[in-house]
């Protein structure tokens, strides 16, 4: 975190304390298909800050997945500059890119992409294999992570023994077991029914809020997009709208920035708990900060452990204050 001010191109004082997790400057990606060039991305600039919650929307074929692959270091831009975790990908060899992905990025795919015939805990532990971690340590961490996504009782189940929602939770655990700075989710609920999908979304938002991992998510759900801190709309390989949300990376007022530091600190899951226990004047919005207040309530019902936070009367006011600002952009505020 220190010394990051110089690296911050915006010079935004409060934001200047953070190194951007990902910084894309005028990146383009052109595919060569049988001699024909397909310009999937045509100069996209985007900065993802630690703890951000960015929704990427746009019609099919607009380049969302292509952008996600670039942001995750899974692919290289054919033009422009892309810096992931402080490292310019143009200067990285494939093995270094792999290590960078392992250390800073977590992917969640629409198709889950779990290894078949492999238990949940081993699937989750997979990224740790490439860190040379011992089998026991891997299992411990993977099991703990599965516990956090609510699958502590499914450690040794195989993908074909689990529902789609459970499989996607395993995939989320796998993406987060390395404690990355950014979680990239490309239509994570695309293969799930609406109820299961909503639960998975809630989990992603909760993890974003609790652990401070930045969440960049491709979604077609306007409601979900509205809950994000920032909404980026793409069309034909360019960004056509970077949310009018005042809290978006570019024009977020400093005061609001201060309003949600808890979600920006990339560590303690203990943070929300301490926040909920604190007085009304506490600036932290807690874990619920990521989701709009209206969006929270129904889901809270399913989550008994979240109730104590709601039960604190003063805290709700504080959150209302933080979340209320977010409400500005919400079209209908539906639950």
């Amino acid at each position: 975190m220190t010394g990051s001010a110089a690296a911050d191109p915006r010079g935004d004082p409060p934001a200047g304390e953070r190194v951007p997790a990902i910084e894309a400057v005028e990146v383009s990606r052109t595919y060569q298909l049988d001699g024909v060039s397909v310009e999937a991305l045509r100069g996209v600039s985007l900065t993802v800050q630690p703890g951000d919650y960015v929704a990427l929307v746009g019609p099919s074929g607009s380049g969302k997945s292509t952008l996600m692959h670039l942001l995750g270091g899974l692919d290289r831009p054919t033009g422009g500059r892309l810096v992931i975790g402080g490292r310019d990908v143009n200067a990285l060899a494939p093995p270094e890119m792999a290590t960078l992905r392992n250390e800073t990025i977590g992917f969640v795919f629409q198709a889950f992409h779990l290894l078949p015939r492999t238990s949940a805990v081993e699937n989750v532990a997979l990224p740790l294999v490439y860190r040379g971690m011992s089998a026991r340590q891997r299992r411990e961490r993977a099991a703990a992570m599965l516990g956090r996504v609510g699958l502590g009782h499914r450690l040794d189940h195989r993908p074909n023994q689990m529902s789609g929602g459970e499989q996607q939770r395993v995939a989320i655990a796998r993406a987060l077991v390395t404690e990355p700075t950014v979680l990239l989710a490309d239509e994570p609920t695309g293969n799930l029914d609406s109820v299961t999908g909503a639960a998975v979304l809630e989990l992603l938002e909760q993890l974003n809020a609790e652990s401070g991992v930045a969440l960049v998510m491709v979604t077609h759900d306007q409601e979900v997009a509205a809950r994000a801190h920032r909404r980026i709309t793409m069309r034909d390989g360019v960004v056509v709208a970077d949310s009018a949300d005042p809290r978006s990376a570019h024009d977020r007022p400093p005061s609001v920035d201060h309003g949600r530091p808890a979600t920006l600190v990339p560590a303690p899951s203990a943070e929300p708990r301490s926040a909920s226990g604190s007085g009304p004047g506490h600036p932290s919005g807690g874990s619920g900060g990521a989701a709009g207040a209206t969006g929270r309530l129904p889901r809270e019902v399913e989550r008994p452990e979240a109730h104590p936070r709601d039960a604190a009367p003063g805290d709700a006011v504080a959150r209302e204050g933080a979340a209320g600002a977010r409400e500005v952009e919400r079209p209908g505020g539906t639950a």
């Binding site: 899974l74 692919d75 992905r101 795919f109 290894l115 997979l126 490439y130 040379g132």
Partner: protein, 394 residues
Amino acid sequence: MRVAEAWRVALDALRANRLRSALTMLGVIIGVASVVLLVAIGTGTKQKVEQQVEGLGSNLLLVVPGRIEVGNAPVVSPLTLKDVDAVTRVVGDPDRVAVTVASGATARAGARSDFTTVQGVLETTPAVFTRSLARGRYLTGTDVDTSRRVAVLGDSVARALFPDRDPLGQQVALAGVRFRVIGVFAPLGQSLGVDRDDEVHVPVTAAQRLWGTQRVDGIAVKAPDRERIDELGERIVAELNRRHPDTEFSAVTQQQILGVLGDILGVLTGVLAAIAGISLLVGGVGVSNIMLVSVRERTREIGLRKAVGARPRDIGVQFLLEAVLLTTIGGLTGMALGVGTALLVDALSPIPAAITWWSLALAFGVSAVVGIVFGVVPAQRAGRLDPVVALRTE
């Protein structure tokens, strides 16, 4: 990724496709087993032949018309007993000279008959070739001089014609002419698949009369010492060349026979091993093929592994180890199978087989190398896969 981990992943992958892994290994198993078995048979045969040639007696010179070389057709012999006398004069000691005139003939005794080789010989044969009798006596000088129709039977012939009687004193008809059995050889066994006990010795004079010929096929001389054996051979050949200017003669020693036989058997073993090696190669191609299929099938897995941080090398090593595991497990199984079959063949058939450590080491080494060589291309292909494309694959 840790090496132990890589092995585990490779092993898991093989286990996940047990049947396919086993079938792929089968190519390597058969290749390695046949290399081991054929080399064992080649080696066993060579050892046995060497023993037998050495067992012929020491300092032996064989004088035959024509050249002794691989690929030379035998020549009809111009030699007669007069030439034998001439050779005897060169040697200086009649007890050291033996002859043979041989032909296939049916031996009959009562209702039983046996097709065998009848050898016309001198009484010196047991001394020159170190043969011993089980029963009775051998031919004498008088038997030879008087063309007496007496015969000494090889063990197999004796068993075939007189399974339940003592052959001594019995009559056998050789090519229709009656001979009296005076002795039976001690058994010798087999060599190169030939039954060496399937022969009947009769006086050379009687044999020549039987077939109406003056011919002698070959002369054997037991040299007095090893040092001058080559020189003696040259003198004998010179004498025979003088008497038969149109024919070439060769005098060969046991060492030369061993050399020639060794060459033949060496070539034979080599050819067999090469044929077996080809099947090993085919097995390797099978491994390569299956690994390519495996890479294609697991493209998404590769993409996912890369997405979570596997470097190209990690993926390459994983697939290479898988190929090497396939061939080395196949190689070990093939070795066990080859050794087992060789032991069975040696014990249950007349074909000798001897296991050599070098052939096992070679077979195992080759199978490991085959795994590496044929695994490299699929492994590289896997390592270089573009993760985005890989993840998109169905």
